[in-house]
């Protein structure tokens, strides 16, 4: 089964659970004064769940034939050639993003950002650390200044143990 139909299957399962929540768990919470209303909070989700399952089935069963098959170009992305791609690098970068999210508060903005930028370029194969580290530091400092001072949004610059 092609990837797009797997996605359709997952989508149908998702719609079923969404529909379950809408049909069977939401209506008990409706306060009495709203019960005479023609629309409840669950009305629209119920419609969406049913529609979603129907459309998902159309994709899953292949009821609609795809348009004229074009030859995918070399620069167009195609999952069938995933093994030729640099999947490791992409996954490593995603991992770095997660690490950044978790480190941002405890490590402070400046350190987390510098680490992220340097590690990111290292993952991509950069080895000129004498260029990358200053560039990352300057960028982190500049963005911090922009966000904190110009836009006025609080960003803790230093690690938690150094105070604010």
């Amino acid at each position: 089964m092609a990837l797009d139909r797997w996605i359709a299957l997952i989508f149908i399962v998702f719609c079923c659970s969404y529909g379950y929540l809408a049909f069977f768990t939401m209506d008990q919470d409706v306060p009495p004064f709203m019960q005479s209303n023609p629309v409840w909070p669950s009305t629209f989700p119920k419609m969406l769940a049913v529609l979603g399952i129907l459309v998902g089935l159309v994709v899953l069963l292949g009821l609609e034939k795809p348009g004229d098959d074009k030859e995918p170009s070399a620069t167009e992305i195609n999952y069938r050639r995933l093994h030729e791609y640099k999947l490791g690098q992409a996954l490593a970068l995603l991992g770095l993003m997660v690490a950044y999210a978790l480190l941002l508060r405890p490590a402070g903005f400046l350190m987390a950002t510098t680490l992220f930028l340097v590690a990111g370029s290292t993952v991509l194969g950069e080895r000129k650390f004498h260029v990358m580290i200053p560039v990352a530091l300057i960028a982190a400092g500049f963005v911090w200044y922009l966000v904190q001072q110009v836009l006025g949004i609080f960003l803790r610059p230093f690690p938690f143990f150094l105070g604010n």
């Binding site: 990837l3 919470d29 909070p41 989700p45 795809p66 992220f116 960028a139 836009l151």
Partner: protein, 506 residues
Amino acid sequence: MLEGIMIGLEAAFSIQNLLLVVAGCLIGTFIGMLPGLGPMSIIAIMIPVAITLGDPAAALILLAGVYYGAVFGGSTSSILLNAPGIAGTVATSFDGYPMARKGQAGKALTIAAVSSFAGGMIGVILMMIFAPALSSVALLFHSAEYFALMVVGLSAIAAFAGTGQVSKALMMTILGLILATVGEGALFNMPRFTLGLMDLQSGISFITLAMAMFALPEALFLVLNPARGSTDDGGSQKITGLRFSRSEGRAMVPVIGRQSIQGFFIGVLPGAGATLASFLGYAVERNIAKGEDQAEFGHGSVKGLAAPETANNAACTGSFVPLLTLGIPGSGTTAILLGALIALNVTPGPRLMTDTPEIFWAVIISMFIGNVVLLILNLPLIPYIAKILSIPRNYLIPFILFFTLMGAYIGQNNATELLMLVGLGVMASIFRFADYPLAPLLIGFILGRMLEDNFARSMQLYRGADFILERPMTLGLLVLALLLILLPSYRARRARKRAEGVADGD
């Protein structure tokens, strides 16, 4: 209207707003040139900045400048590298790149800039004529019609999403609508589908979603496939000789005239947008051209370059019409702009022009300014800006990812948002792999709340679903939506039947 123009002039010509237009255009050009980063990603990254400006007119002016700049930057990379930053400038590379190969990169850029300028200008003038008219019609609409109109918009976007399968686009639209129901709605005052998580209480942030749908997958794809957006000879190419000859100018004029009008009206239609306008513009001009002129198309024809450039800019302007008059975005980009406006407590729609004319007209006037800025400021700077194309990707990609993260963080000031961004981004990348269009998802998400509100209001007014039958316009629009969805597959089936019939000797 004159009064409005005066208000707009006053607002747009403040020092702050002028600076914002210039900054927006420059930033847009700068980033739009990078292969793989389209206007949607750039605007998504810029939204937190725009929102912190606080003033809706200023925010919209900045974002519109970025939009224009990005489209212009996209044409630059199409011409210099044959690597269109966005789908809307693919047709530009047909003739722009051959011209650059002949050593006329400077001329090609000027032709592109001049035709974009003309297309944008004529587009804005057409908009000044048609937007007020459309607004006054839209004032007659009730929530039932709005509900139906949004359904039409969503169906049109799904029908024209361009992957050849309407059902896939519809699936994405419904997913967007479902995501929009998460959180506490204005209508019912009760949290829905939060799964007991505090972070979902206020719903999914649309900036996070926009970043995850567009900026993050693009950056990941640049990592996955280095051939995508390779910058082999771009940085080193010399750009000289920005002038074109008088006879070339004369050849461009009729093309610009035709394509700006055609492009504008294509842009107004929901779902069609700049990409379709530029391809159609190119095709039409090639068919109209005769003899040698036609043979030159694809080998560096002036007309072949002017046509898509005029059309895509006129279409960009046209796509603002439904946004500003009906509050219904016709494209992914205008959907993101709508999201930004809602975040600033402005509800675009027919009332926008009467209630807050300064916003409406300031945007229109700043479109004029934006076009001028692109022509007189950006064009001479292009040789220098093009240097960005030679920044190594090892540096570029971490920065793109970092800006994506920052955008999501600034919007919500919450580190959990970043995890959500990564999760949604991975999901979006998988969708892209399987050829699911993502713009319908985002548009569905942004329209979802309004769609439900209008639906609920009409249901309450008519004590049930009778409004569909009692209001002829609502019924008509809903039938139109159904036709839009069913027509493509019906036509495909008929074409197949006919092909089979021929084979059988029928």
